[in-house]
């Protein structure tokens, strides 16, 4: 399991590229990834699910925690490149209401 983190030079945007499985095995790594990235207020995180095939409900929990953590700091989240299957999971869990999902 590995999450690649890439921030832009001006610290306004960081991309977290998730691995094949987004599940409870990466709870800590995911937490460290967004807590560790130094993003300025007004900036945003991009969660890139390009490589992700499977996601479970703990991943949804992780995203909710991330959202809580960042809202106070005025930092946004965008979820990109989610497959049709994963989008279905987001829709069922009504995540499309709370997150910007491309």
């Amino acid at each position: 399991m590995s999450i690649a983190v890439v921030s832009n030079a001006s610290s306004t945007e960081a991309t977290l590229s998730m691995d094949k499985n987004f599940d409870f095995n990466c709870v800590n790594e995911f937490l460290c990834a967004y807590e560790g990235a130094d993003i300025a207020s007004g900036g945003h995180f991009i969660v890139d699910l390009r490589r992700t095939h499977y996601m479970d409900s703990s991943a949804l929990g992780m995203l909710i925690n991330m959202h809580k953590f960042l809202t106070g700091k005025n930092i946004g989240i965008r979820i990109i490149n989610s497959s049709a299957q994963i989008r279905k999971i987001f829709t069922i869990s009504r995540f499309d209401k709370k997150f910007q999902i491309d």
Binding site: R50, Y54, D56, S57, L60, G61, N81, R87
Partner: protein
């Protein structure tokens, strides 16, 4: 060398016969025009004819006409032997098809000199004929091969199963084979990928490079690879494949599903043009990198440019052939002419540009492949694309044997093995299952984790209330699992073939030996979990399947999933 001597006087034939025999020529005789014709028709080895003019039945002129008409491609020089040497006679000898004439009485030296000259001509003619036959044969073979190669290239490169309404493209190959390539593929997340490229040269040698490019492009886009990774892979393959004087100028583009994010890698290609929704040109993206196929994998730069164009923006990419089109006065079409077109209002820019190039060329022959692509930046719509739908495959109705498996997992298994991936490997072999595999994986994971975490490890979800608790919960899970030495989990799976056109169904269950739980209360309590970071698992699993049922005081959960 065999000579036919035609004369109605035996004496004349004999004199000529002696001369020929003296000089080593083989010969045969005919007494009149008609028998001369018969001899030529019957004897393929006759190479040359010595022809008298005045003979009974058929004279020399008539015989010559008939022989020449009959012989077609077989070249037999005919030399008239005549006592008449008036211009009219000589002219007639040649006009009926004769090749030369010789006065009577025949001088041996002149006869032999003329024969030698004509034999030379015959030899040249035969060589030419042989070469012609070979060339013709060769040409036929090349044409046949081209037809085959064209079919292979076409079926290897173009795919007709997807059509994205955001993309418009056109190309006009200069020869049967196109050294330009334009490919479009849907991305699994609903966006679209495009590659437009131009190999050095044109014709077959350029077209052949399109095959590996198409292979890589389709394989990688179906896995949602990033534009930079696709560029690296194509470059790597072409670098090993192409001779050093050949390379591939290309642009690879990905537009996301909502149509507001472009990722672009371009190398050696003309500026990419961006036009507003009104059609006005507002930006050009210059080349970023060297063409593909030149740099080795570790020198290659796969940096991608990401831009976020306003919705309605149109992007244009094109190959060299567009701006390098020649007018009859050898003037180049050029970028300025192309860009000036954007000042004119137009509904179909692609057609307008092609019309403009055509008009500029004014009938001159095309000297390079021409291709052009337009990409509209707005939410991506695929037509006939099967990649986004859980396709209602016919295989769901395929006959399947009604089988079941049952698995008893003890503490050892739960501790040491990745159970769900292994279960999935078994399930995946069921007919028609592949399109459901990701969702089934999610359901299995949710149910398995519930059974393990609550039934076997006796963890309490309430711990997950806080952010720290969330992490603690999963840390505790790992600790308890590591020390697990009792407990049992039973997994059962049954395939129920659908009768009479019904779809096949999958029924599977987990039964743990834990304390169970009050599932009815749980279901009521968790109606609104939007703000919580847990409690979604069951809801998620049950909305992905047809039926989810608890029994045995919450120790057993059973799911029915239709393979439709």
């Amino acid at each position: 060398m065999k000579v036919l001597v035609v004369d109605d006087h035996r004496f004349n034939r004999e004199i000529l016969g002696f001369m020929l025999a003296d000089n080593g020529y083989e010969y045969t005789e005919a007494e009149c025009g008609r028998s001369a014709f018969d001899a030529v028709a019957a004897d393929q080895s006759i190479d040359l004819v010595l022809m008298d003019i005045n003979m009974p039945l058929m004279d020399g002129y008539q015989a010559t006409e008939k022989i020449k008409a009959y012989c077609g491609d077989r070249f037999i020089p005919i030399i008239f032997i005549t006592a008449l040497n008036d211009d009219e006679t000589l002219a007639k000898c040649l006009s009926v098809g004769g090749d030369d004439f010789l006065g009577k009485p025949v001088n041996e030296n002149v006869l032999i000199a003329k024969l030698k000259a004509h034999v030379r001509t015959v030899r040249y003619h035969r060589q030419l004929q042989q070469t012609n036959t070979q060339l013709h044969h060769h040409q036929m073979q090349v044409e046949r091969e081209h037809v085959i190669v064209e079919r292979i290239l076409q079926s290897g490169i173009q795919r007709s199963d997807n059509n994205c309404s955001n993309v418009k493209f056109r190309f006009s190959p200069m020869t049967m084979f196109n050294g330009d390539i334009v490919l479009v593929a849907p991305s699994p997340s609903g966006g679209v990928y495009i590659i437009l490229g131009d190999f050095t040269g044109h014709g077959l040698s350029a077209a052949i490079g399109c095959l590996p490019v198409a292979d890589i492009f389709y394989a990688m886009t179906s896995k949602q690879a990033s534009v930079g990774d696709i560029a690296s892979e194509v470059n790597k393959r072409l670098h090993t494949l192409l001779p050093s004087n050949m390379f591939f100028c290309a642009v690879i583009i990905e537009l996301n599903h909502s149509g507001d994010r472009l990722s672009i890698w371009s190398g050696g290609i003309n500026d990419i043009l961006l036009a507003t929704s009104e059609g006005k040109l507002y930006d050009r993206l210059g080349g970023q990198h060297m063409p593909m196929g030149i740099l080795s994998d570790n020198e290659f730069d796969n940096t991608v440019r990401v831009i976020k164009p306003p919705l309605g923006t149109r992007l244009y990419a094109y190959s060299d052939g567009v701006i390098e089109t020649h007018s009859p006065t050898s003037e180049l079409y050029g970028e300025d002419r192309l860009e000036a077109l954007f000042d004119l209002p137009c509904d179909d820019r692609v057609a307008q540009i092609f019309d403009s190039i055509e008009a500029f060329r004014a009938g001159e022959s095309q000297d390079d492949d021409i291709s052009l692509v337009e990409l509209l930046c707005q939410p991506v719509v695929h037509i006939h694309s099967d990649s986004l739908v859980l396709a209602p495959l016919d295989s769901s109705r395929l006959m399947s044997l009604p089988w079941r498996i049952s698995l008893q997992l003890d503490a050892n298994h739960l501790r040491e093995y990745e159970v769900v991936p292994q279960l999935l490997q078994v399930i995946v072999n069921i007919h028609g299952l592949s399109v459901h595999q990701d969702l089934i994986y999610t359901i299995l994971t949710e149910l398995y984790n519930n059974a393990v975490e609550h039934g076997i490890l006796r963890l309490n979800s309430a711990t997950k209330m806080s952010v720290d608790g969330f992490s603690e919960y999963y840390q505790e899970r790992a600790v308890r699992l590591k020390n697990l030495n009792s407990g049992q989990l039973v997994f059962e799976l049954a395939v129920k073939p659908g009768a009479d056109g019904e779809v096949n169904r999958l029924v599977f269950s987990f039964t743990d030996d834990g304390p169970g739980f009050d599932y009815q209360k749980f279901q009521q309590a968790n109606k609104d979990v939007d703000e919580l970071c847990f409690g979604r698992g069951l809801t998620l699993a049950s909305s992905l399947c047809d039926q989810l049922q608890y029994s045995k005081s919450g120790r057993r959960v059973e799911v029915v999933y239709s393979l439709d």
